[in-house]
């Protein structure tokens, strides 16, 4: 059961081979046993989970055509507000914060009858690529616990990889779904900006943040996205589009598919083991009928520096809400109101979050705004234009998700800029607002998983899921699981 696809779980539930309570219990028991060594979950609540499972079992939603996921458990990244559950965002600032309402994503899964197993560890306020910035300690990669799971959705990736949950939610501002999916051997999808509601998703960089599914396969991700996506009037950037069935094209043959290979993604900077796995995947796609087209993304090299102006600028503004007045940490001792703000924030935020707030404050400050922030926004336009031009000659773009396999704890944490470069292939996609996904495509050094990145044009999710699914029909990388776990 722990290795079953969502479709298989759905069928088992429909045929009464199992129940929502039985499934929740199975996964809760695994979490209890394995989480102490992985630290993927920050919060679990057996009673709440089982209560939801009982409701699902009694609801009539299980086995119904319009609620195919009813009765199946999942876990949420701790960035999503979950009514009545502690929601920490990986921060000390919110260590005592009980969410007073549900994020739209959480609500949608609830309405669909899915059962919440718990809340998943993450880099603090989603700022990090290794999970080492979490106040609750780093998540361990189930493939090798001396290595990072990636970030910021590292808890989501580790939980699904270790089969502590059949699926998880994640969020991606600069690669936070795709990079941990790659490092833990999962399938993860960051939808087009505006497809998934950001309501109740604690904001990091609002013009870049997007929620998405993390699961074992493209098919699972399609089913999850069907529930997650949709217009939400409570999110001012939510897009008003007709509902889509993201699974509609899964089986379509790939004959004639044009895959764009940006030469900037295949230059220096990618480790040889990653290159070998990615090239083997491309060879597989040729066998499936695809042709390769060389494309150029000449400004993609500027994406990481542009991101480290734009994202901190937005973060410094978003995180100003944490002032110790209405919720979150308040310093025990202070001289006056200003001192209370400054001390509460200094105590509540970790080092990386503080660095980004300071950088963001600086680039937005008087006299520097044009030189940094406006210039970065213009470069963002150049980066987006590159993609528009590239998609004139190809249907999707492929390349590595991350430049290396999962690195060891401490390898990059001393130098912020080195850590930032972990997202060198993923960040441009967020700046352009495009959908991006990562699928497992082999193993590299130390037998660690490698991810293949697929980038589509705006609203290309169904096509990308089709492309990923056809590959997963002829390969088995996505069903491999970490050894050494029961």
């Amino acid at each position: 059961m722990i290795n079953s696809s969502l479709k298989e779980l759905s069928a088992a539930l429909a045929r009464k081979k199992t129940s929502a309570v039985e499934l929740a219990t199975l996964f809760l028991d695994r979490i209890e046993k394995l989480n102490p060594s992985l630290n993927a979950f920050v919060t679990t609540d057996r009673e709440k989970a089982l209560a939801m499972a009982r409701v699902a079992d009694a609801s009539g939603k299980v086995g119904a055509g319009d609620t195919p996921l009813a009765g199946i458990p999942l876990a949420h990244k701790d960035i999503f507000m979950t009514s009545g559950w502690r929601t920490t965002c990986g921060s000390k600032m919110l260590s005592n914060f009980i969410a007073p309402y549900d994020a739209t994503v959480v609500e949608k899964f609830k309405v669909a009858g899915m059962v919440t197993l718990g809340k998943l560890n993450m880099d603090e306020f989603a700022m990090g690529s290794s999970n080492e910035t979490s106040f609750y300690g780093p998540v361990k990669n189930p493939w090798d616990t001396a290595r990072v799971p990636g970030g910021s959705s590292g808890g989501s990736a580790a939980a699904v990889a270790a089969r502590l949950a059949p699926a998880a939610t994640g969020t991606d501002t600069g690669g936070s779904i795709r990079q941990p999916a790659a490092l833990c051997g999962l399938t993860g999808l960051k939808p087009t900006y505006g497809v998934v509601s950001r309501y109740g998703m604690i904001a990091f960089a609002s013009s870049l943040d997007q929620g998405g599914p993390m699961a074992k396969s493209a098919e699972d991700c399609a089913l999850l996205l069907n529930t997650m996506a949709g217009f939400d009037p409570r999110d001012s950037t939510s897009l008003e589009r007709p509902a889509e069935d993201y699974a509609r094209d899964l089986e379509k043959p790939l004959q004639g598919l044009r895959i764009g290979l940006p030469k900037e993604f295949f230059g220096e900077g990618m480790d040889a083991d990653v290159r070998a796995a990615v090239e083997a995947a491309l060879a597989e796609y040729r066998k499936l009928g695809a042709t390769m087209v060389e494309v150029n993304l000449p400004n993609s090299g500027l994406s990481v520096p542009a991101y480290y102006v734009i994202a901190p600028a937005e973060a410094s503004s978003n995180l100003s809400r944490f002032d110790g007045v209405r919720y979150g940490h308040r310093a025990p001792d202070y001289a006056d109101l200003d001192d209370m703000y400054s001390k509460s924030r200094a105590q509540g935020f970790g080092e990386e979050v503080k660095r980004r707030i300071l950088i963001g404050t600086y680039v937005l400050s008087h006299g520097y705004y044009d030189a940094y922030y406006l210039q970065a926004q213009k470069i963002r336009r150049l980066i987006a234009n590159d993609f528009v031009a590239a998609f004139k000659s190809c249907d999707v773009i492929m390349g590595p998700t991350a430049p290396s396999v999962a690195f060891r704890f401490g390898d990059k944490s001393a130098d912020p800029v080195q850590m930032y470069l972990s997202d060198i292939y993923t960040i441009a996609v967020n700046l352009a607002g495009l959908p991006g996904m990562s699928i497992p495509c082999g193993f590299g050094n130390a037998d660690m998983p490698v991810g293949l990145q697929i980038v589509g044009p705006w609203f290309g999710e169904a096509k990308m899921l089709n492309i990923a699914h056809r590959y997963q029909l002829v390969t088995d990388w996505h069903i491999r699981q970490p050894g050494g776990l029961p």
């Binding site: 520096p305 480290y308 102006v309 209370m340 200094a346 300071l358 404050t361």
Partner: protein, 95 residues
């Protein structure tokens, strides 16, 4: 350009983040490391390029001017550090 210790103190003050005397040197060095990394943006010619604030061009939606949120004062104040009589308490700002 690179930041001085005074710059760091000024930015920290703007951000309402207490940076202790012990942290200020390291903070300056790390911020300068990041700033020198983003400095490369300055050499790009962006004449005539429209800044891109958002991934998709959307206009702010308007909605009918009717209340949609119920009064949830109690629930929201239950998670506040300090409240009294339905108000959030902060240190006195006017003597």
């Amino acid at each position: 350009m690179s930041l001085t210790l005074d710059d760091v103190r000024r930015i920290a003050r703007l951000a309402r983040l207490d940076v202790s005397a012990a942290e200020v040197d390291t903070t300056r060095d790390q911020l300068n490391g990041i700033l020198s990394f983003i400095e490369q943006l300055q050499s790009v010619d962006t004449t005539g390029i429209e800044p891109m604030a958002h991934a998709v061009d959307v206009v702010q939606r308007l909605r009918p001017d009717v209340a949609t949120e119920p009064d949830r004062r109690e629930a929201f104040q239950a998670i506040a550090p300090e409240t009294e009589a339905g108000l959030y308490l902060v240190p006195k700002v006017i003597e």
